[in-house]
Amino acid sequence: MSSLLRNQKVRNALLQLLYVGSIAALVLAGVAIARQNLAEQGITSGFDFLSKSTGWDVNFSLLPATANDPYWWFFLIGIINTLFLGSVGLMLATIVGTIVGLARTSSNELARLLGRTYVDIFRNIPLILQVFFWYAVITHLPTPRSAYEAWGMLLTSRGLYVPVPNVGGPAMTLAIFALIAAIALPVWLGRTSRLSQPIGERLAIQLAGAAAALAGAAIILAIGRLPDLPLVDFPALQGLNLKGGLRIPPEFSALAIAIAIYGGSYIAEIVRGGFKAVGKGQMEAALSLGLSPWRVFTLVRLPLALRAMLPILANQYVWLIKATTMGIAVGFTDFFMIVALTINHSGQTLEAIGILMAGFLTINLSLAAVFNRINKAIALKGNQLRG
């Protein structure tokens, strides 16, 4: 027995067991106490409330929503709003970060200075202040009657009105997937045919792929088109109000801009670090083979820099997704705000927070899993210390 206890593996396993056991006991005790307290207040615990109607409404939803809809539907709306805000915010932050990060690695002194100033300023102002700032700016835009207009979009203090196609929901979803394919397909085709086709033919294959996907999207839209309505629903002034199109509320825009600008300052540093990590030797070798500076960038520098930055970028993305919970500060009905409202109205605190945690865990773990797969797939093979 004592010899067994002296075995390192057995010891580690026992310690591990003790640790997990005590945490489980703590959690169970907490749940039991909470249940008792809630029961004394006359609140029944459990997830029955999910099918009850909420009695309140949300200010922004990509899905149809009324106060008669049940809680589970609102949770879904919240998750979709969070994902929508998250993906728009991350996309914009990535674009901003790439531009600023490249400026910081540029050989142009002014570009470097501008990039550094940007990072120093926006990384050091708390996100919530930036959200409030942009919210104030947007809500002080002109009223609908004197709206700014560009490409069929209207920019007003009540939000950004964008034209939407008059197309049924399922067809719209399919069409969005087709549009994503139109971007992804050429990239994929480029990779798989990387060294099997001369450059010219490869471009043709990529263009054909993109064209096919776009044509698919057009066909889907044509089939899914709602009868007796114009193909595109443009927003327009009717009386004192704007009708038609999709209204992107100021809350959403303020959050998306703030996340783009704040997140962009962090991503810029990651981009800069990625490019700095690429050895000068590889680029010199590529130049010495007669490759043009542009080819050196796309074939050597960028692929190597991406490999260096993706793991850190994944962390940053997970972090920025969590930052969407700032929505509650300006009243955007993201997942977190829906949960907060649910707790206020139904009193189902534990259940709602459980759903919130499960939701964010799922989103962020999936994101991390996707990035891990990409990282694994493109990881450099072998020992990189030599040479």
Partner: protein, 251 residues
Amino acid sequence: MNSTQSPGAAVRIENLDKYYGSFHALRKINLSVERGERIVVCGPSGSGKSTMIRCINRLEQHNGGRITVLGTELNDDVGNIDGIRREVGMVFQHFNLFPHMTVLENCMLAPMIVRKQPRAEAEATARRYLEKVRIPEQAMKFPGQLSGGQQQRVAIARALCMQPQIMLFDEPTSALDPEMIAEVLDVMVTLASEGMTMICVTHEMGFARRVADRVIFMDGGEIVEEAPPEEFFTSSRNERTRQFLSQVLGH
């Protein structure tokens, strides 16, 4: 080989000056290399050997004098630079292979993109040169999976796939463990015996003795001495050369 090429020297360097900021790295260098000639450049660390051969394919920009490569002057004309880089291969001390591509892809990249070779042709060429540097079986591996000596031989094959007329070597064996130096030098000796124009920065004096037509000794950004190997090793009267030789030859 020489008969198919236009006449004139392979590389002609006249009064070459190079500054890094205010530091005068190369001082009025004059050097002419004929086609098919094998030059070994040696000299103490920091004497400007790398700088000089990197000027030949414009990895460094010179500040004064003229460099003419295969009859084309190296100036700000991008077309000239591209044209020269296509004909001048370079092998680096640290191999500088592309770690995200297989050995075969490393060798096929430039021929396909710069020379616009069809894939089949580029692959055949790549496999032929990998055979020549004696690692045909490593074609599908990645650089990080090879030993230093193997990586350097891939780097040589990669440069040869562009079918250059001139090869530059910048201390190709300095980063290698002793047991791998011979395998790289063997490849270089073969290349020399086939008539390749070569400029090699190296301290491998055995190699210099065996293949060099001329040995160039540099110190302090200048060419101090220039002589056929026998003369260079046995009867140099220059004090700096003799001191350097006693250091690298170890007596």
